[in-house]
Symmetry: C2
Subunit: 355 residues, 2 copies
DNA sequence: TTTAGCACTCATTACCTTTGAGTGCTAAGC
DNA sequence: GCTTAGCACTCAAAGGTAATGAGTGCTAAA
């Protein structure tokens, strides 16, 4: 359809989007004409805007109102027109120091990241972490803990360590445990989840001797853990920030969007994870989702070590400050990747420091 | 001031509150007169209501409007007038089955409970868990995990088990670890957090031999863990549900309340924890908090085993269905207490079940 | 090709009127 | 002496109309 926009048209379009992002009000020709670096009169702007309207880049809420960017307009804006937003030193600093505070476990981390991103962008944020490879157990340990309690420690291929306290009616000796641990290590390490079946259970139990009654419990826990590992972990934070946006003064609208977030986001994101890995922007109706029409999503991937990848994103009105949001999100992703790249520096002896 | 209310006045007051809770609209004399078990005419009701107004139990938004309960009116209502709400079988079932799904760790649990409570009451909910006694380490274990990695396993006095993967540049033998573990168990168990000081560190390091470089790392982790154990854990969920309430159609109001929740709740709750341990209801201006005027809080304690106590509560408009909310909350608290009372039933061998 | 000018459109706002729910008071009834 | 019917009065909410003004489209001149 349209071959190419003239430079002037682009300039006008950019101005419209910029202004609309700032004010959330339809922008008129006069306003643009008064912009410092705009050398044409409002009449000229008017005719340019009429063209842009015809081309589908702008929309008109009603006859005598200013113009508003259409979805296509936003698309063009984010793809070509948008000025790079340069993060100020303050901004990078506050993001970095926020991330600095060590994140403990992965599931906790996901929540914290969501919260931080939401804070940094003043929009609702989503954070997802998921493993691509299935983890396996790389090592079993059994520790006797007194009064018939046993601690089961699993070390996973992902270098994570999980444990479970098992209270057994049976009395077991230190030696029984050693034997059982050896057996488990011999038969159950490096196995993907799928292979933990009834057959394996029976085979192992037969050789287990005194500790046989422990085996099913161990297996259940292993399967549980590996499944949990494989699953996706996601968190939403700062939903309330939507209310700060003028387009969601309508409570019903805000509510509808927010309730759809939990389920909706989930179904959308896998698709994105497989695609490009820069920052991705979904504008309005491009969504698969049903009623997120005047809503946009900006998201970025980041690397976590150990076979995991993460994604952070924000949700907001189509009229959001894409430049700023993108910049902050990217910086966030970068910082996170960096942080995970040097995990748990071989720590130098230094005690008593607290978060 | 007022000595006692006549039965009839009480009946009228109860009707006003009941109706207002249902409709969120000022209630007029005619409406009450038409109530099935009300044997007086609207004129009589009117004069009774005038009295109640004078006594401060009712308020009048404007001259020609119906009446609305005042804070004092709500207070009287929840203290004396409120009819017990009987949970239906359906309700108890859905609450129970929601809780049934095992909650893993305490911090995860807090969030889950908040979510469940919010769901059950359709209001924003808070959930807090905190330990009263300081935990101690009751057992140390060190496990060699290949490539210079060591797994440190702590068993706490609360029966929780935590671990940490330590990557050390130094190479340590199985035997070194055994010795170190024995040393740690001899010197660092049963100690409250406060005693982990520089002196202890130095003393232990002196006797540690080959594993000396590990000691500071272990200690840092221990201190960290014990502090975390002592700290309060709290979660807020379902903030968005506020928007469903007509009094918070005003977005600004909802937003103000919600932002104040995070900090405010924190400062309020300790006070309550120490007080009564039934269900407690804070009505409107009784709050310590600043701008929670037409907001009430209903909360209940519940027992977690192992030196912990929990609290669940909801936040909502003063006009909330106290009876229903209280009933559900109490049932929740009971179920939770019960669940924690029989933790981790000595499990019978049974494998392959998943959540 | 650009711009000034002007008639026109239409959402928003302000202002006024109407409506009706609900009250307070008084006088009659039980 | 309670209770209740009746009635004038109040006032928020709803509806309807007019004024306002931002912004447009078009035309004619520069």
């Amino acid at each position: 359809m349209n071959v190419e926009l003239t430079e002037r048209k682009k300039k006008v379009l950019r101005s419209v989007v910029d202004l609309y992002i700032r004010t959330a009000e339809p922008v008129g020709s006069k306003l643009i004409a008064e912009l410092p670096d705009m050398q044409y009169s409002s009449a000229t702007i008017r005719s340019e805007m009429a063209d842009l309207l015809a081309m589908g880049y702008l929309e008109q809420p009603h006859t005598s109102a200013g113009r508003v960017p259409s979805a296509a307009g936003y698309r063009l804006y984010v793809d070509e027109l948008m000025a790079e937003y340069r993060l100020s030193l303050d901004e990078t600093k506050s993001i970095s120091s926020a991330i600095e505070e060590k994140m403990q476990k992965v599931d906790k981390m996901v929540e914290k990241v969501a919260k931080l991103v939401s804070q940094a962008t003043d929009l609702p944020a989503i954070s997802v972490a998921s493993r691509y490879g299935g983890a396996t157990v790389s090592r079993f340990d059994l520790i006797l803990a007194g009064q018939g309690s046993i601690i089961l420690v699993l070390m996973l291929s992902s270098d994570e360590v999980v444990n479970k306290l098992i209270k057994l009616p049976v009395q077991l000796e230190e030696n029984d445990l050693k034997l059982l641990a050896a057996l488990l290590n011999a038969t159950m390490t490096e196995l993907p989840v799928e292979e933990f079946n009834q057959a394996l259970l029976e085979r192992v139990m037969r050789s287990a001797g005194a500790g046989a009654s422990l085996v099913p419990i161990v297996m259940e826990f292993v399967v549980d853990t590996l499944n949990r590992q494989g699953s996706t972990n996601m968190a939403v934070a700062g939903q309330m920030r939507l209310l700060g946006q003028p387009e969601y003064r309508d409570v019903d609208k805000a509510q509808r969007l927010m309730t759809s977030l939990d389920e909706e986001a989930l179904s959308n994101l896998p698709a994105v994870m497989q695609n490009t890995n820069g920052t991705q922007i979904l504008v309005g109706p491009e969504h698969v989702a049903r009623e997120l029409k005047d809503t946009s999503v900006v998201m970025t991937r980041f690397d976590i070590g150990d076979g995991m990848q993460g994604m952070i994103g924000v949700v907001g009105p189509t009229r959001m400050d894409y430049a700023k949001v993108t910049a902050r999100l990217s910086y966030f992703a970068e910082s996170l990747s960096k942080m995970f790249a040097k995990p748990e520096q071989p720590q130098l002896p230094e005690a008593g420091k607290e978060e």
